[in-house]
């Protein structure tokens, strides 16, 4: 207790040097909590957005459907089995049919995925109802990324060409009935949504679907022959991988930030021991054992971390709170990454991260404070008392 009291007094007495170290350490702490909050917030928001817009409560995929294999894409569909048809009829699921196609905006060809979905669906947030209307015209829906890429606007007509079930090419004009805005790039980039019945008719695949999106909250997933259930764990695995890689990237940043802050503490300790040699000699002359002095200097260094947590709480908490309340705007360029990233990320700070970081900072600061302080144990008190600078 005495060592803590003396260390605190010495630390505060050191003035600006202490506060600079404390500020650098608290900056590292706040930045790490912020960075981790952003990644956590992104993960959380992305999963919410994906659930609401794309995957609902899970999906059944036709067993030949592989979204990453263009060669098998046109075979990855089948008639809705009775179990899934029942879910669809009960409003618990919505089928989606996917086929490859080309569009010709401004006379330039662009390969796309043509997706059919029921305009009456309310399983996902996709504003499918915009596709309802005149049965003579095919009303289509595109996302704003697709609209920007093709320079298509609402009510524009565009030619679409596809191959039917027999491999025959056909083409027609479709009208852009609506442009939706979503953070989920995977239902937007290079995709055009049209009514399911129209696409089934165009391709000759009546009653067929590629995958079925289940409503949120459906917990039981019966086994359906020829169809594979994909839960959130599988559907989010890609996002999880990205978040994991971002977290590792973040870890590198944490290490750099923390190393810089610890270097400042280490430097201060080395300088302290050099400058305060006479003080060390005095402590020993007054009856402190060498290890008591080592402990005093180590605690002094380690207390930088405690003060930095307090300082971080004082200036960092309001800042972190404001960012969490108003969000952190992501650069426009991230829209094109194909990742689910919200325009504004609302960081989610975890108590676990804060506690872990506090412990890590405390332990590492103690270690870097102890390393130079060990020199005191080998110091001759008579030489220390003759120290040049106090």
């Amino acid at each position: 207790m005495l060592a803590f009291k003396l260390a605190l007094k010495n630390l505060i007495g050191a003035g600006l040097r202490t506060w600079l170290n404390v500020f650098v350490l608290s900056l590292a702490l706040v930045m790490i909590v912020f960075q981790s909050g952003i990644i956590h917030g992104w993960d959380l928001q992305a999963k919410i957005d994906m659930t609401e817009w794309e995957v609902g409560g899970g999906e059944y995929w036709h067993n030949l459907y592989d979204p990453y294999d263009p060669l098998s894409l046109n075979d990855g569909h089948g008639s809705l089995p009775s179990e899934l048809k029942k879910l669809y009829n009960d409003g618990q699921a919505v089928p989606v049919l996917v086929t490859q196609a080309s569009v010709y905006p401004e006379g330039r060809m662009r390969n796309i995925l043509l997706k059919g979905i029921d305009p009456s669906q309310n399983i996902v947030k996709l504003p499918a109802s915009l596709m309802k209307g005149d049965s003579l015209v095919i009303n289509a829906l595109i996302g704003n990324r697709m609209a920007n890429a093709t320079r298509l606007n609402k009510n524009d007509m565009v030619t679409v060409r596809w191959r039917d079930a027999n491999g025959t090419f056909d083409a027609t004009e479709i009208r852009i009935a609506g442009i939706f805005h979503t953070n989920v790039a995977s239902i937007d980039n290079n995709q055009i949504w049209i009514p399911l019945d129209k696409l089934q008719k165009m391709t000759g695949l009546d009653g067929n679907a590629t995958y079925i999106i289940l409503k949120q909250g459906i917990t039981s997933a019966p086994t359906v022959p020829g169809w594979i259930y994909k839960g959130h764990d599988i559907l989010f695995s890609e996002l999880d991988t990205i978040i994991k890689s971002k977290s590792i990237g973040g870890l590198v940043l944490y290490i750099i930030l923390l190393s810089l802050a610890l270097l400042a503490v280490f430097d201060t300790q080395v300088l302290s021991i050099f400058r305060r040699e006479k003080e060390i000699g005095t402590y020993i002359a007054l009856g402190m054992t060498r290890w008591q002095v080592v402990r005093l200097f180590t605690i002094e260094g380690a207390m930088h971390s405690i003060l930095s947590v307090v300082a971080g709480a004082i200036w960092g908490m309001p800042l972190l709170y404001l960012v969490a309340k108003y969000g952190f705007a992501m650069p426009k360029a991230t829209e094109g990454y194909g990742l689910t990233i919200a325009e504004k990320i609302f960081p989610v700070y975890s108590l676990g991260t804060i506690i872990t970081m506090t412990i890590i900072i405390l332990v590492t600061t103690t270690i870097v404070s102890y390393i130079p302080s060990r020199k005191i144990a080998g110091m001759k008190p008579t030489e220390a008392l003759r120290g040049k600078v106090q």
Binding site: A14, E279, I284, L286, T289, R290, P381, T382, L385
Partner: protein, 232 residues
């Protein structure tokens, strides 16, 4: 050992490495100090005064011979045991005061009592008493940087005396002070020596200090050349 004998030095030799050879700072010294003495080790620079004080203060070890302090032979003491003896029984006064710069006058004087784990109430009383002895009761909240040299040395005396040690070792305590301050400080120490029966041992070559000594030990080239009682 005589009951009043508190320090005994026998055939004390201290050598320091110097270049390829050695420098002999103390060469076969024999001395005894008794309780309540007001003694000084005098001599020119380099005669071994500070080295002798450091060995008596258990801050350094002899190369040969022995120093027995309060019945403890320096040969048998570990570094930790030596620290405990200094903590309980010794006070130090240095030429450059060696006050802890971030502490107030009160806290500087209080420091040795914190190491002795004395209770807050006892500590406060002892510190205020000590500061009263040295006439600094009005400066308790001042920091060393706000004090004059004489005041700093008085704080150092209060710090050395606060635990009422048996021995106070003072190394050139007046070297940085003017005549008035030196005189005042020496009077303070004489008073404490008389009232508390504390043994004072000085290392000095300052005539102002020498004129107050009751026993003068002259060291020349690491050897005792004279040991005389000058005031009885």
């Amino acid at each position: 050992m005589n009951n009043a004998e508190i320090i005994s030095v026998k055939n004390l030799t201290k050598k320091f490495p110097m270049g390829l050879g050695e420098f002999t700072a103390l060469n076969g010294i024999n001395l005894t100090f008794f309780k309540g003495e007001f003694a000084g080790v005098v001599g020119p620079s380099g005669s071994g005064k500070t080295t002798l004080l450091n060995i008596i203060g258990l801050l350094d070890n002899p190369s040969d011979g022995d120093a027995t302090v309060l019945g403890n032979s320096s040969k048998d003491l570990s570094v930790r045991q030596a620290a405990l003896i200094r903590r309980k029984h010794m006070g130090f006064i240095f030429q450059t005061y060696n006050l802890l710069p971030v502490y107030t006058v009160f806290e500087n004087a209080e420091f040795p009592l914190l190491l002795l784990k004395m209770s807050t109430g006892e500590r406060k009383k002892a510190v205020l008493d000590a500061l009263e002895w040295v006439g600094l009761s009005d400066k308790v909240r001042s920091k060393p940087a706000q004090l004059s040299g004489g005041e700093c040395q008085r704080v150092a005396i209060a710090r050395a005396m606060v635990k009422r040690p048996e021995i106070v070792l003072a190394d050139e305590p007046t070297a940085n002070l003017d005549a008035d301050n030196s005189h005042h400080i020496l009077q303070t120490m004489e008073k404490l020596n008389k009232e508390l029966k504390t043994t004072f041992i000085f290392a000095t070559h300052d005539d102002k200090v020498i004129s107050h000594l009751k026993r003068k030990i002259t060291l020349i080239d690491g050897k005792v050349s004279r040991d005389e009682n000058i005031k009885q």
